[in-house]
Symmetry: C4
Subunit: 271 residues, 4 copies
């Protein structure tokens, strides 16, 4: 593809917008990163009542500025990519569209809070930028380790949810509405708050029996946090080890040579 795209303006544009190897591509990525973060900061600040009241015109001007820039970028992406339809319906294509639509919609319907949140989804666009950089390797090690342990983690979460529902129901009986345990769903919510050691304190057991059961839940929660940690650590150790130790001596089949080894440390054979 790189061969085909080489000379025309459209091809150059493609390399700048979609890739990160050229100097232009890197500059483009940095500008885009700054614009996305700035636009999310503006959306956040706009939600503060006092600030919106005082600076509404400035917020609107900034928002239109960001929207116009992102619209130009979106159109350039469609123009430069060799497969526009595929891009438009790809995950990042949808996110790109979603991040400009709310401002245009606010012209037609009164700009509601909900549109505000859709704008925050712009943050997801940062993921694409990092996909192009050195962070990708580290991210892959992390996500590979997480993917490898996904079944174990599902078993763990399933067990935790079962515990949480049963303990929540028992707490509902023990404590009752007087201490804020007004229903089983609310008691389950309390159990999750306690087991994960968050502990808001908006609902807290008041009876001795409830406090004894709560103590068990806390110690259990404190202990079983070891399980996901153990799972992820084991997977990471393995994925790390695999990356390091996969050189085998073709002479004696000794494994575990460092990546910079020239000779087999077992038989002295030149690797």
């Amino acid at each position: 593809m790189a061969e085909v795209l080489k000379n025309t303006f459209r091809e150059k544009l493609y390399r700048v917008i979609f890739e990160a190897e050229t100097a232009g591509g890197k500059v483009f990525d940095i500008i885009l990163l700054v614009l996305i973060i700035a636009s999310v900061v503006v959306v956040s600040l706009e939600s503060v009542v006092e600030l919106r009241r005082a600076y509404l015109p400035y917020f609107q001007a900034l928002e239109w500025g960001f929207t116009i820039l992102f619209t130009i970028e979106y159109l350039l992406r469609i123009y430069s990519t060799p497969k526009p339809i595929k891009y438009i319906f790809s995950f990042f294509g949808m996110v790109d569209l979603l991040s400009i639509i709310p401002t245009y919609l606010s012209l037609i319907i009164a700009g509601s809070q909900y549109l505000l949140v859709v704008r925050v989804l712009r943050l997801l666009r940062i993921a694409r930028i990092f996909k192009l950089t050195r962070f990708i390797n580290e991210g892959q090690v992390l996500s590979r380790a997480l993917r490898a342990s996904v079944t174990k983690i599902l078993v763990f979460i399933g067990t935790v949810l079962t515990i949480v529902v049963i303990v929540g129901s028992v707490m509902y009986i023990i404590e009752g509405a007087a201490s804020g345990f007004t229903s089983i769903p609310k008691s389950i919510y309390w159990t999750i708050v306690t087991l994960t050691t968050v502990g808001y304190g908006d609902i807290a057991p008041a009876t001795p029996l409830g406090q004894i059961l709560a103590s068990f839940v806390m110690i259990m929660g404190y202990g079983i946090i070891a399980v996901p940690t153990g799972i992820v650590t084991v997977e990471m150790t393995r994925s790390q080890r695999e990356a390091e130790h996969t050189r085998v001596c073709p002479n004696c089949h000794q494994e575990g040579h460092p990546l910079n080894a020239n000779f087999c440390f077992n038989c002295g054979y030149k690797l």
Copy 2:
């Protein structure tokens, strides 16, 4: 056993209900899983006062529907198993019975809250379904690792409980009833809430000395969470390694040779 059960209707039923290898068995498991979760959701929602007031007839109808289906399933299990008595008095047999009794009981005695919670125990029936699937292997790795570290964890919990009782008593003296530390059991409850980093805030130290001791407890709790994590991680690494390193000697069937072994360490046979 599979050989004996092969042809009759009862045998086919057994394979559908108790096993998961056949297509019918898989469909049965999925339907059962959905029914169990739906019935627990209904029980939970029924406990919300506003919902119960508004939709009581619907809840009752749904509850009778689930109960009848689970009763049919229970009878079919007794009918199809070759050892009905053993099934009835097995753990899962008891859970199956417990999950249908409350609704029938509510005909005789007024349906109390306690019966509500017994219904939630239906969740335990999910464990049987997963026993039949691929999750079982992962679950075994987890539970083997936990079993292997059970003595270490008991020593750890014993130490934590001793610390908690002593610190709780000292806090009772330092803070006293004015800050909510009205008795030693309550102070112990506070210490558990603090050491496990839950921190409701329903009781919190108010005196400088109490806050200094609380700071020590927090830093200690923050640090000793490393201990169960370390225990579980080490056991998981070992159980993982054992699963990987199960090279078997073709001569003496000794297991557990390292991947780079040249000779069986048991009989000296060249691998």
Copy 3:
């Protein structure tokens, strides 16, 4: 020593009270364990105002019962040990004395709350019982791992304390007395509560700047909990590995043979 002590009554007593190999010694340990736990439970319940008011005579009778039994035990220990002076001034000798003194003191001076707490120290006597049992090995693995990482943990705690003091001082400036940050020590207390993820909520930042700094502290606290966990896990892995893999082949000096190996897996030499 066992040789010398063999035949007299005093020697038999020594083996029952101080050791755990004989049947009598095991029975003695179990009775002592039950008595200690029961006496601590009684002390705890006595601190609950309602219970003390209702059952004071029973509590006092129980307390005198425990004290007389522990006094007899203490005197028998002094009588049976070959080195009474050494026992009396040993750590456990002091704890044994401390656990009976408060009740006698309450005859002379009015039984204050402080004496209540001294009684709780009886719990420490449990440590001696477990020293004699199979738990000792597991406890040694844990405590060896903790001892080996003590310097690393001290560096870690030192760094955490420095962060906590500096962040606490800055929060005192940012938030001030209005949000409950009335002094630097109180702000440091808040920082510890936050960094360790306890989060009572008795003091919480109210200004935007304070909440931003608090967010940093929380994410930092959430992240650096990885450090003690990592330290302990690494030490445990090593202490585990050392226990397992210390058999070396005398022929080829290959390390890492399993404990049940008969032949070197590298050269086939009989171990």
Copy 4:
């Protein structure tokens, strides 16, 4: 340098103040450590309104005492070092100056709270003392492990921040100002408080939908704490292993041979 500095008073002073090998150097370090901690304790206590009101003259006297001692130390450092300009503009040179300036400034301008905090920065000077001691090695192992995992941790924190902003915005829509979620920044603050399992409870979800989303956030936060722990543990294991496995080839000085290596993997020399 040690050769050149040997005989004069200035050279002796340098060894006492900047180094820790001589007896004099060790005594100097311990005195300095005590003075720094004492001065930070005085600053902390001075911020307590009741104490300042009662003992202001004593605090001022102590503060002037510390300042004069630290000033003498600062001047001696400049005098004894062979490169005074480099010292003055080094990190520790700046910290040394910052820790004495506030007291002198309070003569000119009214001593404000801000100067109080600058004094707390004296704590940073402790870092220099530990740089000279045996703690340095352990600290290096820790900081090397953290440095090696810095990219992975950045990817992790980036992902967490993206989740936090999006969840915060959604919670702002779901809960709204009634439950304290008055703006997106405040909702993001709440999300961080929840995800890190701190859980103050100053803001807590009140609607069922908000509590369901909060439950997801808590379980997620409870689970993803495994990620930094896994990262750091893996890095520590590696840095530990590297420290253990530094067998050097006597022929080519290549490091990092496994303990069971027979030949240098770089030059093939028989070890």
